[in-house]
């Protein structure tokens, strides 16, 4: 009886993970993407409500639901809450800034955490670089056991949490923004 309960719990757990868009691992060890698109995975994830709202307000939902693939480095809601200073980046008045900020967090193709780790190890001290849709370059390095990524002029932020493999790309949660917000008026 207890064995049946455990098996049932495992099945429910597996379904929950799949519903969140996280990757499954097949027999060969390869990551298997979910059926849902990046936009759908984000929509279901309450931890990225602000990011999802910015995508919606800027009109990028269609692009992130379509073919891609893209890898989206997803800052947490509290980091995005500071992105506009006193202003709200999800506001329609800041759509242009929000769109540019989002493009700075998106790179072409599907980058799994294992792909990034392999590239960092191969690149050595200089780090592994990836081009963003804002025409800037992100640099990945290691900080101890952690993988970190740094945008142009931005701080090093950690790749945190679980990656989510969507049908058309990957969501890589990061601990902060890849561009550093200005700290004072006029410093932008």
């Amino acid at each position: 009886m207890s064995r049946m309960l455990i098996r049932g719990a495992l099945i429910v757990g597996a379904i929950a993970v799949a519903a969140c868009g996280r990757s499954d691992i097949d027999d060969s060890g390869s990551a298997q993407p979910a059926e849902a698109s990046l936009a759908s995975v984000l929509e279901r994830n309450p931890g990225h409500a602000r990011l999802e709202a910015m995508i919606e307000s800027t009109g990028l939902t269609e692009a992130l639901a379509a073919t891609g693939p893209y890898t989206l480095f997803a800052p947490p809601d509290d980091a995005l809450a500071t992105a506009g200073g006193d202003a709200d980046m999800t506001d329609d008045a800041l759509k242009a800034q929000a769109a540019q900020l989002l493009r700075a967090h998106i790179v072409p193709g599907a980058l799994t955490r294992a792909d990034i780790a392999a590239a960092v190890d191969r690149a050595g001290g200089e780090g592994a670089k990836m081009r963003t849709m804002a025409d800037a370059v992100l640099t990945f390095t290691r900080d101890g056991e952690r993988l970190v990524v740094r945008g142009p002029d931005g701080p090093a932020v950690a790749l945190s949490g679980d990656e989510a493999l969507a049908r058309n790309g990957v969501i890589q949660p990061v601990s902060g923004l890849l561009l550093a917000p200005s700290t004072a008026p006029g410093a932008g």
Partner: protein
């Protein structure tokens, strides 16, 4: 100055080792056959978040669909009825897109018969039949314009006043706008060039380090927002047919590429209806160095079995193509179209 590189010889040489590589495209063949790429419904505007599903499922599924099996076509209600003009988009591309996009032409001496032989080899392999349809095409790319197509002067309705574009009579705004830059304008620093950028009312303005106004462009989320009319003075690149098929674009809109974004524009009203795709627009030229910023293996899942990194070759994805790269020299060896 960029050098034109013949792709075909490289592609043919690689065919045996990596079946599925698209051959360099002879000029002027097969356009009628190409029109099938317009079968998909247009993206339209709305909440169908999985519209790219068919394009993303990989070669086998795509071939099954073309085989005539009944699979419900997904399209937006508002787009129905406009698909009767299938091929219009492709025709428009023929007239404009390929004329204006960069091309890689067939090398001298590559004959039609030889093309056919390559194609047959793909047929026998059983995996690459779908590439037949592309044997008549030229390879074309969308590239990001180095100058971002900056426009001189000021947007319509605004006048240049002390290096700012303002509505007439609003001189008092100058000081506030210039010296109290909003905290959120840091996002434009990602351009990382020698210019200074400031945003205002839908447009991004470029300034010299000395503070002179150099030009402006409309930007995504600003003057280039869904529902906005395309600014008449702003130039754009037509989207080549291959991109249309790869990204699953339909016939209902004009697709325009500008500064890394593919917009779907209503051909009647000129209003932007959808943001269809984001592109890096980087310059990948066979025989040249791989652009900076592609150190991480990023090939789409469904192509990873076929294009896997090895000690003598890397594969990198960008804007609908996979490129084979020499790991030692970082020279681009060939360009591979993922859809045909």
């Amino acid at each position: 100055m960029r050098r034109s590189i013949w792709l075909a010889s490289v592609a043919v040489a690689l065919m045996a080792a990596a079946p599925g590589l698209v051959q360099a495209q002879p000029e002027g063949k097969g356009r009628d056959r190409d029109r099938g790429g317009a079968e998909r419904g247009p993206p339209g505007k709305g909440a169908d978040r999985d519209r790219g599903e068919r394009s993303a499922r990989g070669p086998d599924r795509e071939r099954e669909d073309r085989g005539g099996r009944a699979e419900p076509r997904r399209e937006r209600p508002e787009a129905r009825g406009r698909d009767n003009d299938a091929g219009k988009w492709a025709e428009r591309r023929d007239r404009e897109g390929e004329r204006r996009a960069r091309e890689a032409l067939r090398p001298p001496g590559k004959t039609a018969d030889r093309d056919r032989g390559d194609r047959d080899r793909g047929d026998r392999d059983g995996r690459d039949r779908r590439y037949d349809r592309d044997d008549g095409r030229r390879l074309v790319w969308l590239r990001r314009e180095p100058d971002r197509r900056m426009i001189d002067g000021c947007p319509p309705g605004l006048a240049k006043q002390n290096q700012w574009c303002l509505p007439p009579g609003q001189l008092r705004q100058i000081a506030r706008t210039r010296y109290e830059r909003p905290r959120y304008d840091y996002v434009w620093r990602s351009y990382r060039d020698e210019w200074d950028y400031r945003y205002g009312d839908g447009y991004l303005y470029r300034y010299s380090p000395q503070g002179s106004l150099l030009g402006y462009i409309p930007v995504l989320g600003g003057a280039l927002s869904i529902g906005s009319a395309w600014p008449g003075q702003y130039d754009w690149q037509p989207v080549p047919e291959y991109y249309g098929r790869y990204y699953g674009l339909g016939d209902s809109y004009d697709y325009r590429f500008s500064d890394g974004v593919v917009y779907g524009v209503d051909p009647q009203t000129q209003a932007i209806q959808t943001i269809a795709a984001l592109l890096t627009g980087q310059d990948w030229t066979v025989g040249q160095q791989m652009p900076t910023g592609y150190d991480v293996y990023n090939v789409p899942y469904q192509y990873r079995d076929r294009y896997r990194d090895g000690p003598d070759r890397w594969y990198r994805y960008d804007d609908g193509y996979v490129y084979q790269v020499d790991p030692n020299t970082r020279l681009i060896q060939t360009a591979i179209q993922l859809l045909a």
